[in-house]
Amino acid sequence: MSVAEVHEPVGAGTAAPVLELVNGSVRYGGSGTPAISNVSLALRPGEILGLVGESGCGKSTTARAMLGLAPLTSGRVLLHGTEVVTNDKRLTKDKRLRAAVQAIFQNPAASFNPKRSLLDSVAEPLRVHGTNSAAERRRRALAELDRVGITAAMASRRPHEVSGGQCQRAAIARATILRPEVLVCDEPVSALDVSIQAQILELLSELRSENRLAMLFISHDLGVIAALCDRTAVMYAGKIVEQADALELVHAPRHPYSVILQDSAPSLDISAEPVTRLPSRSSPDVVDGRQLAGCGFAALCPSADDLCHTTHPPLAPLSQAHDTACHHPYTPEPAPAEGSSRPAAD
């Protein structure tokens, strides 16, 4: 039982990235506005990078791009510095990427073929990657399922005959059975109950330490991100607006959107008054920040001025290993620059 797993953060830029998305843009079905544009993310061995943002901001598209599932209109994906996905292939057939980068998805039951047993599905990657003996595949699949806490009896069931948490465990087994270097997790716990969610987070954290897995961990839940991730990237309207060490982002966010996101997250600490560092604005209509000429957040941003509406701010380092794309980054007023603006309520 690892109550407090304190992982030594891998400082940005220390190790060479395993998987990198470089200036990736994706535009679905030839429509005008790209789902994501110029997104660059790097995953280093043993590091969990959190990707947070509201629904429809492009988180999943980013994940799909890094998996080679979404068609890149520009940019590329590098695996150990070698180009594995570019814009001229819809779905990469590069076996290196397939063996090295695996994924788990949001809806555990839906990520399994309803007609096959969990065991069959978990053994499938072995078949695809050349383990020809059925007995060997079965043995290894059972071992992998056992590692994530699924018994042999349960393994023979179909996905709809087990609970969501068990299904997600099996999905993790399927993703790790090839011993990948990178795991892309697209909202892996948001469909699960809180008590089960914590089980899955614990399992993922163990896998990271055991196998030095790099992970891209997508969530809309700041708590989940803060509990698990080393670094966090905040996405808004198809662009990365801020990227920093996970704790730093929690306690000293600079982009107004990150600040408002932090302020709005529900807290169990109800004794202290809620902190509102920046007033949030709302818009009655569906605002597609991607169609704005300037910053995508300008329409809702309390600090926006004319510059924001006309020019998109580039993602640039504000301090060491802390990138923000904002013309007017937030600075706490009385400026105890370090630490939380939320007094530690002990």
């Binding site: 809806n107 039951a109 399994f112 309803p114 695809v128 005959e161």
Partner: protein, 300 residues
């Protein structure tokens, strides 16, 4: 807040005794209804009659007995005879053999060709999809019966040719349906999960897509069998179907036209057989679709 304002009742300790066996998700399985049973019974009777009744009753579709012309039902001729003294039941059963053979045969042929094409078009998209869509649209622009008629008259009268004539206009519908089903399945996460593993497309189509579109395709195929039987009847009725030497329901109805007022049984018997058979097939197809709805996954 006063103590009374609090919620005051007490959850009584009770050892709940209801025992159930399985913790797993319950599947709503549709019960066999009366109509399903009737439909199955009719088809079973039909097949049984086709295979055994002529021998048991010693009747034959083609034996003419001038003594028993246009008789009503009797112990020997259960449904009576036509104006050559041929047994109507025997003829209807002989017609069933042809109708079912043509119905299932033509549907099987068009499904075997159409479903793979539809699956490939749906999964791979691109130029393959564009070409098939175009061909499908062109073929479907013709009314089915007219196209079948044209093909039948071009190919000439034979069982195989009738089958082809029916299968060709039906095939694009299978293509289209298989494509639509594939598109919807291919968007599911488990297909994406297989892609991430690196499963080749043919494997995904065979293991992930096909098993999950089978029920829908089977249901449609059953309806299509009824449809094919109807078209065969139409072709034979118009004299473009079976050669006159082969007994078929459509041929019987066509022949019975001359006796519609004097002896309606000549039309009524083959019509009733056709109606009941097609109705049964449709009802069973419904069951297939209904059973599918119960198979939804659990989870939140």
């Amino acid at each position: 807040m006063s103590p009374e304002a609090g919620m005051t009742a007490v959850a009584e300790p009770s050892a709940v005794a209801e025992m159930g066996e399985r913790p797993a998700v319950k599947r709503a399985r549709r019960q066999w209804g009366l109509t399903d049973v009737l439909a199955m019974s009719w088809l079973a009777l039909l097949v049984f009659g086709m295979l055994f009744l002529p021998t048991l009753l010693n009747i034959d579709a083609d034996t003419m007995s001038p003594a028993d012309r246009l008789t009503g039902p009797s112990a020997h001729h259960w449904l009576g005879t036509d104006n050559y003294g041929r047994d109507l039941l025997a003829r209807a059963l002989a017609g069933a053999r042809i109708s079912l053979w043509i119905g299932f045969g033509s549907v099987a042929a068009s499904a075997l060709v159409g479903v793979p094409i539809g699956m490939l078009a749906g999964y791979l998209g691109g130029w393959l999809d564009r070409i098939t869509s175009f061909v499908v649209d062109v073929v479907l622009a013709f009314p089915g019966l007219v196209l079948a008629l044209a093909l039948a008259s071009f190919l000439g009268q034979s069982i195989t040719n009738v089958m082809i004539a029916i299968a060709v206009p039906m095939c694009p519908v299978f293509v289209r349906l298989a494509k639509a089903q594939t598109l919807s399945v291919a968007r599911r996460e488990y297909v994406e999960a297989s892609q991430v593993i690196g499963t080749p497309a043919r494997s995904i189509l065979r293991r992930d897509v096909l098993p999950n579109i089978t029920e829908a395709m089977l249901a449609f195929a059953l309806v299509s069998v009824g449809h094919a039987i109807l078209i065969e009847g139409g072709l034979s009725f118009l004299g473009m179907g079976m050669p006159p030497t082969v007994t078929s329901w459509g041929g019987m109805i066509n022949y019975g036209r001359g006796f519609i007022s004097s002896n309606p049984a000549l039309i009524a018997v083959p019509s009733a057989f056709m109606l009941l058979t097609i109705l049964s097939l449709n009802l069973l197809a419904d069951r297939f679709l209904g059973g599918r709805a119960g198979n939804t996954g659990g989870g939140r």
